[in-house]
């Protein structure tokens, strides 16, 4: 062993994202002073990114139970059973910090990482989705960041040949300092080919395959676990560079091996590189691993053991292979012209032992390295002004626009507008299985040889979660369930990405606690097991935190991919029904945001039980093909949803929301108020009775509000906009903003 060093200085510890308390905790557990390499390994694995030391106790509230769940959290990705031996594997993950520093590569490697998580389970990735947050597109720097992140997501997915089928994007000045880039991947695997990230069998060789190991991405995990600051640009070397071509070959080789009994376990080298993949695989198997760093292929000369162990070079996987079968495994990688090296072996002692140049340079017990971190429980408190702001009227000043102007401005808001500027840069069709393309409530990917298909959506909390993070998280889950219901899909399970600020700020910790509690409650009530997830904290810049942004990805099943309703109205004379909840408001609404107002007023109401029943009713109407179109009311309220249905179907509509004179707010709340559990359905005149009957059976409010037809979108007595103007506004929302110069 190399000599132990003297107690490191606070500055040295900070570089490793360790506190003095954690250092002493390590010394106590080890019974000795760790050397610098060991300290680096501990710092990486004890970082928030790897250990979830702050969020873990909260995450235990999330239930992963359900008859459909095959693998819950704790592996590379969650797995649910689709029946007939087919499994679906999926996860969402963030790559926020790297994307803020180097948007193309940050976003690209985010996609690369989530793909590896899925094919590490033996599953072939069949769909990617992204959830993005940026500041205001009026700002050239934000346009640049947005354009480059989209380029990066597209670059990786397009090159590797996995379709990016959907996503959601939200722009708000509160994300000015920290963009959010969450990527979700969904894969399919038959039961016998499912792989696990586990090391087993003393004496079995450990292989490192794929890219050579370089100095890129060192401290990536610790970088993700501290705030960005003014010097963040200097962290650029902590951002990795992606090679989707190499990953494509790696993916094909791993999938070729997935059915082989020669393979014991497989894990990707993600955050904290070799250290975390070896430590976690061994810990799961109750064994240890001895690594000989001299066998690790390097990209650069003169790399130290420290650099090799903490490198986050992309496109690498760690394999544990049955003894005596190395050559047949290596033959597959050779065929794909990929490097594969035996770099270690499984040992019985539950330790990670690292040797270099014939000398043992690190030796850490796995219970300490993986689970020995100090759980953190930062203080939390609800900011005092929250109570006051929740009770405040949503609009502090008058609205300077007519209802028609407000309506068109909302349609042209990048948060409501047509997103084709984004998804036309993504290959969304490779694979020949995308039967509902991006731009809809949810994407649908068919399952070969079966009538059913996967419906997939990602949804995140919006501004209203700032005042009520619990409600915000619940609204995100409810919206995902609604999006699936619009296509007639039953939700199966959920993955989540919790994007928050610095948990050492009391209000952020409160937000996190509230949001996780809300997520747990919503998932319980809507019977959605949580099978995988990721936590991204420290999304701050110079002391300003992002608003609490839980993002959820939900996968569901549609019964028959040949009969899916569109989002748009289908024929003049069809009846329009408003199904679901009432009591929408302007607190935290998109209208409030457009007016430049702070987040004020109560967030949209939510009755999870009603939400569940409304989804059942809509699902039944869609599946029975009574509903010819279905769309949920989201940002911008009923008026925006109505215009979207009209534009998608190139048909006008006349709707009556209330009798008598306009309400005191002039109709703003009726038109643009945001509530939960609401859908707009169109049905043939003959199916009106059936629609009312199904809704009444589920105990869901259902009102016939109008008819399809005409050349304009009209809410009688309140506002009327020409169909062409609505279409143009939607089309220009993002594309028009991006026509401006980028920085």
């Amino acid at each position: 062993m190399t000599a132990s060093m003297a107690t490191p200085s606070p500055a040295q510890l900070r570089e490793l994202a360790l506190t003095e308390e954690e250092y002493h905790h390590a010394v106590r557990q080890l019974g000795r002073v760790p050397n610098q390499l060991e300290l680096g390994m501990l710092g990486a694995l004890w970082s928030e990114h790897c250990s979830y030391k702050t969020s873990r106790r909260l995450l235990s509230q999330l239930s992963s139970k359900g008859p459909q769940v095959v693998v819950g959290p704790g592996e590379n990705a969650g797995v649910v059973d689709l029946g007939d031996g087919l499994l679906c594997c999926f996860k969402i993950e963030s790559h926020n910090h790297p994307s803020a520093i180097e948007p193309v590569q940050g976003a690209a490697t985010g996609v690369g990482g989530i793909l590896r998580d899925v094919f590490a389970m033996g599953a072939r990735p069949v769909a990617l989705l992204d959830a993005l947050r940026f500041g205001d597109l009026g700002d050239a720097a934000q346009r640049h960041r947005f354009a480059k992140v989209v380029e990066g997501v597209g670059y990786y997915g397009n090159c590797i040949g996995v379709p990016t089928v959907g996503g959601e994007t939200y722009f708000d000045a509160t994300y000015q300092g920290n963009c959010l880039v969450n990527a979700m991947c969904v894969g399919l695997v038959t039961a016998p080919r499912l792989l696990h990230a586990v090391a087993r069998g003393v004496g079995n060789p450990v292989l490192l395959v794929g890219a050579d190991t370089g100095r890129d991405g060192i401290h990536g995990a610790t970088f993700a676990s501290v705030q960005l600051d003014e010097g963040a640009e200097e962290r650029r070397p902590a951002v990795q560079v992606g090679n989707p071509f190499l990953e494509k070959c790696l993916m094909e080789a791993c999938l070729e091996l997935a059915g082989s009994s020669a393979l014991v376990g497989l894990q990707d080298c993600g955050a904290a590189g070799l250290t975390s993949s070896c430590a976690e695989m061994a810990r799961r198997g109750g064994v240890g691993i001895r690594l000989d760093l001299d066998q690790v292929a390097r990209r650069e000369l003169g790399m130290t053991p420290y650099e090799v162990m903490l490198s986050e070079s992309q496109e690498r996987m760690v394999l544990v292979v049955e003894r005596g079968r190395v050559e047949e495994v290596r033959a597959v990688f050779d065929r794909w012209e990929l490097r594969s090296d035996v770099v270690g072996e499984v040992i019985s002692a539950e330790e990670l032992q690292i040797s270099s140049e014939g000398e043992m340079v690190a030796r850490l017990p796995l219970p300490v390295l993986v689970d020995g971190f100090l759980p953190r429980r930062p203080r939390s408190s609800r900011p005092k002004e929250v109570e006051r702001d929740l009770g405040a009227p949503p609009l502090t000043a008058g609205v300077p626009w007519t209802l028609e102007e407000a309506w068109l401005r909302l349609l042209a808001s990048p948060n409501c507008a047509d997103a084709s500027w984004i998804y036309r840069q993504y290959d969304h069709q490779v694979g020949d299985d995308t039967v509902v393309l991006p731009g809809r409530d949810a994407a649908v990917v068919r399952l070969r040889g079966r009538p059913d298909g996967l419906a997939i959506t990602v949804d995140g909390a919006h501004r209203s979660s700032l005042l009520d993070p619990r409600r915000g998280a619940q609204l995100a889950v409810a919206e995902a369930v609604r999006n699936l219901a619009c296509l007639g899909a039953r939700p199966l399970a959920l993955t989540n990405c919790l994007n928050f600020g610095d948990p050492d700020r009391e209000e952020v910790m409160w937000q996190l606690e509230e949001a996780v509690a809300g997520l747990a409650e919503a998932c319980r009530q809507l019977a959605l097991p949580v099978v995988s997830g990721n936590v991204s904290l420290y999304n701050d810049l110079s002391g300003a935190s992002i608003p609490p942004t839980p993002v959820v990805g939900v996968v569901g099943l549609v019964d028959d991919v040949r009969h899916l309703p569109g989002p748009g109205f289908v024929a003049p004379g069809d009846l329009i029904y408003l199904v679901g909840g009432e009591g929408a408001g302007l607190g935290g609404s998109e209208l409030q945001r457009l007016l430049g107002e702070r987040v004020l007023g109560p967030p949209p109401g939510l009755d999870l039980e009603l939400e569940r029943r409304a989804a059942e009713a809509v699902r039944q109407l869609v599946t029975e093909r009574a509903a010819r179109s279905a769309h949920d009311c989201s940002l911008g309220g009923l008026a925006v949803a109505l215009a979207e249905c009209c534009v998608a179907g190139s048909l006008g509509a006349v709707v009556r929301l209330a009798d008598g004179p306009p309400p005191p707010d002039g109709g703003l709340g009726l038109l643009f108020g945001e509530g939960s559990g609401r859908y707009l359905l169109s049905v043939e005149p003959g199916d009106g009775g059936r629609t009312e009957e199904v809704c009444s059976r589920w105990g869901v409010p259902c009102a016939r509000v109008g008819e399809v037809g005409g050349g304009s979108v009209e809410v009688v007595g309140l506002a009327q906009i020409p169909l062409a103007a609505a279409a143009e506004a939607r089309l220009q929302g993002i594309a028009g903003a991006m026509a401006g110069p980028v920085l």
Binding site: E151, G154, Y155, N158, C159, I160, G161, N243, P244, F245, L246, K248, C249, W336, E337, S420, Y423, R424, Q425, Y426, D427, H428, Q429, V430, G431, D432, T434, V435, R446, V561, R562
Partner: protein
Amino acid sequence: MTWRCGIAVFPGTWSERDCAHWVELAGGEPVMLWHAERELKGADLVILPGGFAHGDYLRTGAIARFAPLMAAVRDHALAGGPVLGICNGFQILCEAQLLPGALLRNSCLQFRCQSTHLRVEVTRGPFLSGLEAGRVLEMPISHGEGRYYAPPDQLLELEAHGQVALRYCGPSGELGEEYNPNGSLQHIAGVMNREGNVLGMMPHPERACEPLLGSEDGLHLLRAALAVVGAS
């Protein structure tokens, strides 16, 4: 009897499985051809599918053209055998000089994945002989480098010899910049060699092979080719 359609697989190819699905729907038998091999395994026609062969390093198709398999593809093409290059496959055929011209970065400087309309310009050769001139087909594109370019004199020659096979157009066959997704010269979406047996196109017919995927127009190309193969 079913006709064998060889589908080339380079490291980085990604539409080989889509092509196999398309071939099966058209009544052919797909056979995968690995880039490092030198024979076509009895294939009656050869498809070079879409993807990023060899990572598109250096230039799209620039490395793939040196694959051992490409020697066999060349022999097959020069003997008059049908060869279809789709997207990256078109780029490889240009690099291999089995087709004239080059594919440059889209004029918008962005990747484009969208539905396009294509006008059938000539009806000779195995892939287009079953169609009538002026027919409009619908199929998607998915590329970052699809802007067709050839020097002016070569372009004139292409037109003169009826080698411009497909052009981007509007829904009723009208030409216009608004229908040209990548800035291709003369709206060119596909070209063939002078003999007509080698066709390269940027759009993806293998993604337009079922009503469920939005269009079945891609089947026409393959059915025509399989009929020609069957007759010869």
